[in-house]
């Protein structure tokens, strides 16, 4: 890893760490509120998998949802802020290659996602004892999910010229895909039509695979989920690298 790449990644990490209350603390609190409300209302009424209570089912979904949203936020908000304020020029004037640029933004965003995910996991330990059936799958899906959303964040950050365009991307693309991915329910509890729709949502595979790591049970095979998530990352990474190599909206 080159010094330039490490520095850009360090800058991105330092940027969110300096406002950690907002970038790590706030999403952990939000996830905790979801847990308190939904588990209170539904825990005794819903059993999603055999022998798995609703609160236990919900926690991996909340961890993954927070991880995905924050990985996206990190790269997208950093880029749009740097573009709008003009300080992205300090990176663009340097010998940093587009591949290093991509790697630094994605790695930093994955680390923030993992940190927030770990925070949500830590606070939910008070409420539920989770099994850890396949820890390696947990790590694989957490990292892949973070990388997918970080890449999507880079695309959105480069594409958006204004904060409201980025907010639209977040509200009309990221949020619906996250909420309709099975964070709060198993897709087997949906009508058949919506089950089919869920199967074209890549977020569903990330969350389902992640949940498999805890319970050893999932709606689809973790290998299929890994294939979809891995393929999604490769596709998004290629799109992002192409945009960066062409200097799309960065170099005129």
């Amino acid at each position: 890893m080159s010094k330039a790449l490490r520095t850009l990644m360090y800058k991105e990490l330092l940027r969110f760490w300096k406002v950690g209350f907002q970038t790590v603390g706030a999403p952990v609190l939000t996830a905790l509120l979801y847990l308190l409300v939904f588990s209170h209302v539904l825990d005794r009424q819903v059993e999603v998998y055999g022998g798995v209570g609703y609160t236990a089912f919900l926690v991996p979904g909340l961890i993954m949802m927070s991880l995905l949203q924050n990985a996206f936020s990190n790269s997208s908000s950093s880029l749009i802020q740097s573009k709008v304020t003009g300080n992205l020029v300090f990176v663009l004037l340097t010998p940093i290659s587009y591949r290093e640029f991509f790697a630094a933004y994605v790695l930093a965003a994955v680390i923030r996602g993992l940190l927030v995910g770990a925070g949500v996991w830590a606070v939910t330990l008070w409420f539920v004892d989770l099994p850890y059936a396949h820890p390696l799958w947990i790590l694989v899906f957490a990292s892949l999910g973070g990388a997918i959303m970080a890449s999507l964040g880079v695309i959105a950050g480069i594409w958006a010229d204004k904060f409201d365009q980025l907010a639209a991307f977040q509200n009309f693309v990221v949020m619906p895909l996250t909420f309709l991915s099975g964070v709060f329910y198993s897709i087997h509890s949906l009508p058949e039509f919506w089950q089919r729709v869920s199967h074209v949502n890549p977020f569903f595979y990330m969350i389902d695979g992640f949940r498999y790591g805890f319970f050893g049970q999932s709606d689809v095979s973790p290998w299929i989920s890994a294939l979809v998530a891995g393929g999604s990352f490769v596709a998004l990474a290629l799109v992002t690298l192409n945009m960066l190599a062409r200097g799309y909206k960065l170099r005129s």
């Binding site: 080159s2 010094k3 330039a4 490490r6 520095t7 850009l8 360090y10 800058k11 330092l14 940027r15 300096k18 406002v19 740097s82 304020t85 003009g86 300080n87 020029v89 300090f90 990176v91 663009l92 004037l93 340097t94 010998p95 940093i96 290659s97 200097g247 170099r251 005129s252």
Partner: protein, 304 residues
């Protein structure tokens, strides 16, 4: 390769934005160690040219080399050799001055660079602000940090795009003293400014741009002496009329004085003797050399 190469070699660079031809076959070179001025009115293409040197803009045609390195095909080496102070007052609000400079060093692959960072901070009078967040600095201070960021990787070629816009007189003088020292140490300086007296006193050679084309490329002294005359400014006593012989070369100036164009310094004595012989009394006499502003305005009017 870079030892004998020009600091900047610009060959036939063209750039078009929709219907605007921002750069139209711009060619010139800047030798190593020069203090070079790039002048022109707003929209002349100065910032586009600097952006193209820095890799922020890609030329439609032509090429630019920095210390022998092509800014497109060999961009890493070209950017290591170039420090750019951007025109806009931009900063990252998350970091302190020292963090900003350490991060900028790291982008250029430099590890422990604190000794040089301290030296830059000292010369730019920023030592006391090293651990202050960028947001808390005044506009002038932020401008100094921009200069520091451009110097942090010790580039041999430094481009200053209007570095003194909105800067107070004291800082301006400190900044120029520091930049002059860098030039004396061998750094090549390329300067754009709207303060023409700055360009006149600092730059050894000047390129004038208008509508994306190079109008003039000469040493500052050649530019000043090429076709412009001395001017004798006189305040006539008691509203006496000028003798007929002066009517062709004299005109009234805005402050009520009479301006007489002379071909050279030798004409001063003859002119004053002629006025004395005609009985014209004088309350005030001033001899004015042409300055870069005269040249600039005349050239821009000619090119219009």
């Amino acid at each position: 390769m870079s030892d004998s190469s020009p600091a900047l070699l610009i060959e036939g660079v063209c750039k078009r934005y929709a219907s605007l031809q921002a750069l139209d076959h711009v060619s010139f070179e800047v030798r190593q160690g020069e203090f070079f001025g790039l002048l022109g009115p707003n929209g002349a293409g100065k910032t586009t040219l600097i952006s193209t040197m820095a890799g922020l803009t890609r030329p439609d045609d032509g090429r630019i080399r920095v210390m022998g390195h092509d800014v497109v095909s060999d961009y890493r080496a070209a950017r290591r050799n170039l420090g750019v102070v951007p025109q806009e007052l931009v900063f990252d609000p998350f970091f302190t001055v020292r963090e900003t400079l350490r991060i900028q060093s790291g982008y250029f692959g430099m590890g422990r660079n604190d000794a040089w960072i301290d030296e830059i901070l000292h010369h730019l009078d920023l030592g006391a602000k090293a651990d202050v967040n960028m947001r808390a600095l005044s506009g002038g201070m932020k401008r100094r940090v921009l200069v520091a960021q451009a110097l942090v990787h010790r580039p041999p070629v430094i481009v200053l795009d209007e570095p003194t816009a909105g800067v107070d007189v004291e800082l301006r003088q400190n900044l120029w003293a520091f930049v002059r020292r860098l030039n004396e140490q061998g750094h090549t300086i390329v300067l754009t400014t709207h303060y023409l007296e700055e360009a006149e006193s600092l730059c050894g050679r000047i390129a004038m741009l208008k509508q994306g084309r190079v109008l003039a490329l000469e040493t500052t002294s050649d530019l000043l002496s090429r076709r412009f005359q001395l001017t004798l400014l006189l305040r006539l006593r008691g509203g006496v009329a000028l003798p007929q012989a002066f009517h062709a070369v004299a005109k009234a100036s805005a402050d009520g004085r009479v301006a007489i164009a002379l071909d050279g310094a030798d004409d001063v004595a003859a002119c004053l003797a002629q006025l004395h012989a005609a009985g014209v009394g004088l309350d005030d006499v001033e001899l004015r050399r042409p300055d870069l502003e005269d040249v600039f305005i005349a050239m821009m009017q000619e090119a219009a």
